[in-house]
Symmetry: C2
DNA sequence: GTTGGCACTCAACACACCCAAGTGCCAAGT
DNA sequence: ACTTGGCACTTGGGTGTGTTGAGTGCCAAC
């Protein structure tokens, strides 16, 4: 009863189950894969695999399906990431290069990923943390209403309307803008709050009152960044695979809708040496997502922002991982320009 | 066999079916509603209603369920919009007033609507057509890369990065900005392209070459507006009511994901005197949405932007319509400020 | 460590049956 | 001209009973 063959059996079970959706038995295994041994031997191997918690039988005397632990072993030790076809690579490249806008790039990316994997795609906007202040603009919309705009060096734009406690003149606002901009122009967003504090203390007293409100808004905009936004696509793919999920897809849709949940999910994943991370079923922290797997990776500078897909635990991991990795690479390349 | 009573029967059938999810029979009707006649009479009425295509029997000798046409009659002639409870009104008001940002307002609105109706909420961003140019900003990101920002009087901000054919100096860009801004400041977005054309022709030749690229971008930003964005919430509510939809919810999720489809859907609805519009099941133009109903209304100035909910045809129309209308009103009020 | 054989299990399917809810229709009543 | 009670008929759904087929576990033999 050799160890290598047992792993081979596990791989066969995973692969068969992934594409047949049905528990797989010893007989079917020897038929479909050239294992060189009889079904009885396979049964012995399967008994051991079950002992180890890698596979399970839904009902007594039924075929086996992989457990989460089984998938984990499969992903970590058995599977090889399947390279994409040349045609697919070409398609990715041309599609992404046709975009003109950051928003457009992200939108195309998430749709592409959903289509490529036939699953729900999630893409987080690039982080702005490393970027610096390119420009600041204050626009007087009404006597006590100011539009604060922060433009970062990476091209992201944040804006918010803020109400000031007292009315403000256009000229005062211009001066305020001038002073603040000259103080923080080029400053990294991550240290912006500190610099703003200094700048604020050096303002002439009459401006300082208003400055406080506006500066706080700027701080928020910097901290907020754009990386708190995520894009979704392919939720319809969830419906196709009803039944793949133990419960209903309701909790999953709920989780997807909560940006906070998805952001935590993406950021909490541990990205190993291969750079690609997989959370399988019950490994997911949020209860509603047991029964679902997440395949994600970072992209862009420092791989700081994340992107990935979500699907049933019964998914084609090698292909999915390949697609996620490829899309992340192409996206990184596009963003470098 | 009086006409009024037949309508009363239809109303009873709709109401019972909406909250029991099961075909309703003549006996159950007389039990639950004080109709003052016997079940046999109701059966006669039901036969007529079926003749008219207002109700149908899923199987021979089973209770009846309303048809799309039946719901239509119910909505148009029978039902009365149920006013919200005082508590609900209060909740809407406080929730929406707590928002600070336009984005935040819209986000809260769509979630509120989803929660209130237990259905999928769709909110279109306010139109910018009537707004005017508040400010224009060009930021040199790289020698041939310019960030073009257009700030409208209603507080919306559009930006896009554009590549110029040749390198441009910071000073040139500043001059360009100065000239264009002075030409179009305060101009309505709807006539911006024309004004930009004039401004462009009056530029000194060296600037005109670059100006062309940038001006085209500005035109796009103005046309694009923000009204092409929609927000969704409550998709998980679809999963709760699986079985309410004849087919799977897949096509519905697909439609929801396609902003273009949703925008057309919202804009194509006919808004009658009551200002609230209902599309029932097969009345929906897009095939994937037969089996779903949409309740929508306009909000804001001219009721130009739309908002609404999507759910199973078997929905509580009076309550849903009340919620949609109330949210639209409160949102309009908030936006006026 | 592998294999064929064999008894055993169990979900899924098919079939038969009954029951409750409901209909359609008719003749009698108002 | 409606309304009503009565009655025969339909049918989906629930329940009980075989039957079948894929699959297991175990054992003795190789």
């Amino acid at each position: 009863m050799s160890e290598p063959r047992r792993l081979e059996v596990l791989r066969a079970i995973v692969e068969d189950y992934v594409h047949s959706r049905e528990p797989v038995g010893s007989k079917a295994l020897v038929d479909r894969h050239r294992l060189g041994v009889s079904s009885a031997t396979i049964r012995n191997d399967m008994a051991v695999l079950e002992e180890e918690g890698l596979i399970a039988a839904p009902h007594t005397s039924s075929g086996r399906i992989p457990t989460d632990k089984g998938y984990r072993l499969f992903v970590d030790r058995i599977s090889e990431v399947k390279p994409l076809s040349a045609a697919e690579k070409k398609a990715i490249q041309t599609l992404l290069e046709g975009a003109d806008d950051l928003d457009d790039v992200m939108d195309r990316t998430v749709r592409l990923l959903a289509q490529l994997t036939n699953q729900v795609a999630v893409v987080q906007f690039p982080r702005v943390g490393g970027a610096s202040v390119r420009h600041i603009e204050f626009v007087l919309l009404a006597p006590q209403q100011i539009l604060v705009v922060l433009i970062a060096s990476n091209g992201t734009v944040q804006q918010r309307i803020v109400r000031t406690p007292a009315a403000l003149q256009e000229t005062e606002l211009a001066e305020l803008r001038q002073r603040i901009l000259s103080a923080v122009s080029g400053v990294k967003l991550s240290v912006l709050p500190a610099e703003l504090g200094v700048a604020l203390s050096q303002l002439p007293p009459p401006l300082r009152a208003h400055g406080g409100t506006i500066v706080r808004t700027l701080e928020q905009l910097a901290g907020l960044g754009r990386d708190d936004r995520i894009l979704l696509a392919g939720t319809a793919n969830l419906a196709r695979s009803t039944g793949d999920f133990p419960l209903s897809i309701g909790p999953i849709l709920e989780a997807l809708e909560e940006q906070v949940v998805m952001l935590r999910l993406l950021s909490e994943m541990e990205y190993d040496a291969r750079g690609i991370s997989v959370r399988i079923g019950s490994e997911n922290p949020y209860g509603g997502l047991s029964g679902a797997s997440v395949v994600a990776t970072g992209y862009g500078p420092d791989a700081g922002a994340k992107l990935g897909v979500l699907g049933p635990t019964r998914m084609d991991y090698p292909t999915t991982m390949a697609a996620v990795r490829a899309v992340a690479r192409y996206l990184s390349r596009i963003l470098e320009e």
